[in-house]
């Protein structure tokens, strides 16, 4: 049994509002655990549904990881920007995955997210970007900073809880500084202490 980080659920319960934009700093080895620690209280505690933008790993891999950890991914629509990059990647058994050709199609990601969020009007919605550092591999930093500015403001205005995941030491400093400015909250698990 994998134990989730209880501090994340506590911070979300105390600080998060429907229009929060939460910057989540993770390390390279704990990202799955921290993301699961965010998703579980959002789905089970807040009874929200949402959109998961996959730029680090394929949606299939993320779904299987969440299932292994014990988080139900059925209420999440996945937008996979990774799997179109290799032949056969889009042949998946999950109905809740949509594909965008590449992580450079930032506006398409935005529009697909808006489309899927519009499908659910019954509960609160969240959107999670996993991750800024993966998007920065493909996108020029000025464009990425502009995108995050637009993205966060768009969803805050629509009262969609926004979660922006990044690995700080793999994210361009300018983009990171902008995230500090745009986001309303910070969950910092970027420093992994190994005992």
């Amino acid at each position: 049994m994998i134990e989730l980080d209880p501090g994340v659920a506590q911070q979300l319960a105390e600080e998060a509002t429907p229009s929060s934009a939460i910057q989540v700093r993770v390390g390279t080895s704990n990202s799955e655990l921290i993301i699961a620690s965010i998703l579980q209280p959002l789905i089970q505690g807040f009874e929200m549904r949402g959109v998961y933008i996959c730029a680090s790993r394929s949606a299939t891999e993320i779904i299987q990881t969440l299932e292994r950890i014990g988080v139900d991914p059925s209420g999440i629509q996945f937008i996979d920007t990774v799997s179109s990059g290799f032949i056969g990647g889009t042949e998946v058994p999950y109905p809740n995955i949509r594909f965008v050709d590449s992580p450079i199609m930032l506006e398409s990601i935005m529009l697909q997210t808006l489309y899927h969020l519009g499908e659910n009007t019954d509960t609160g919605n969240f959107v999670i970007v996993d991750s800024v550092n993966a998007l920065s591999i493909y996108n020029e930093k000025r464009m990425l900073a502009e995108y995050l500015h637009t993205f966060i403001n768009t969803f805050r205005a629509r009262e969609v809880l926004t979660v922006i995941v990044n690995v700080p030491d793999q994210t361009p400093p300018g983009v990171l500084a902008n995230l500090d400015l745009y986001c309303t909250d910070l969950i910092d698990r970027g420093q992994v202490v190994i005992h």
Partner: protein
């Protein structure tokens, strides 16, 4: 001091997500608008959505198809959630094949003369008048103009058509096929359509690192102040969706 009232023309609300915001309320009623775009840019889908949104509000709509048979057109748009075949069955969306119309009119020649153009305009406006059409699409006007041998006659055709439709209170979208929407901005195939008509909406692609992103841009709309920026366009099952295109990514590589 009382603010000075500003006169604004009544608008035909397109119902297309984002487009009415770009147009600050919609297309001025009775306008004839050129929808110019490259292949695969979403012209046909957007125009059909324009008709569907009108038909759902009880407006009579007409689609004149010159590039593909109407049966094929309807089969293609049926995949979209926004399209409801019952609107066709109930006579709110009326689809006409231009080839059939030409046969009825006895216009079998490869090129049209002034008398043919007058007959074509009369046939279209008769249909608009008889059914009470308030939204009309011709897809594409380029195909019709290929049969018209001179720029002067094309100008006459579009002027007469636009004037007649405007008089009848019909808002029309005329689809124009263009081969490039890049730096050399031509918004029509023959160069005369763009000057005559009331509005120009351009659809095309921006190439970003080998990928094509669809965009839309309102270049001109008489009687309306409107945004002139590029907007990214996505075709979803519910129809067209728009978002402002990133400023750092709005030009071709």
């Amino acid at each position: 001091m009382m603010p000075t009232p500003v006169y604004e023309r009544d608008r035909c609300v397109t119902g297309i997500a984002g487009l009415d915001e770009i147009l600050r309320g919609g297309i001025p009623y009775g306008s004839t608008v050129l929808v110019a775009g490259t292949c695969g840019s979403g012209k046909t889908t957007m125009c059909m959505e324009f008709l569907v949104n009108g038909a759902e509000n009880g407006e009579a709509c007409a689609h004149f198809s010159a590039t593909e048979p109407s049966v094929k057109l309807l089969e293609n748009v049926r995949q979209f959630d926004f399209f409801d075949m019952r609107l066709v069955d109930r006579g709110l969306i009326n689809v006409f094949d231009m080839d059939v119309l030409f046969s009825w009119l006895g216009m079998t020649k490869s090129t049209f003369e002034l008398s043919d153009i007058d007959a074509m305009v009369k046939a279209i406006t008769d249909i608009v008048n008889t059914i009470g059409v308030t939204r009309l699409v011709i897809d594409s006007v380029t195909t019709l103009c290929y049969k018209i041998p001179s720029e002067q006659l094309i100008r006459d055709f579009l002027f007469k058509l636009g004037k007649a439709l405007s008089t009848l209170g019909c808002t029309a979208l005329l689809v124009s096929e263009i081969t490039s929407s890049g730096a050399k901005a031509y918004w029509s195939s023959f160069g005369v359509e763009e000057a005559i008509l009331d509005g120009i909406i351009v659809l095309g692609d921006v190439e970003r690192m080998g990928h094509l992103l669809r965009f839309i841009q309102v270049v001109k709309m008489r009687g309306a102040s409107h945004a002139r920026a590029k907007y990214a366009l996505e075709l979803t099952p519910k129809g067209v969706m728009l978002t402002p295109m990133l400023k750092w990514g709005a030009v071709n590589d």
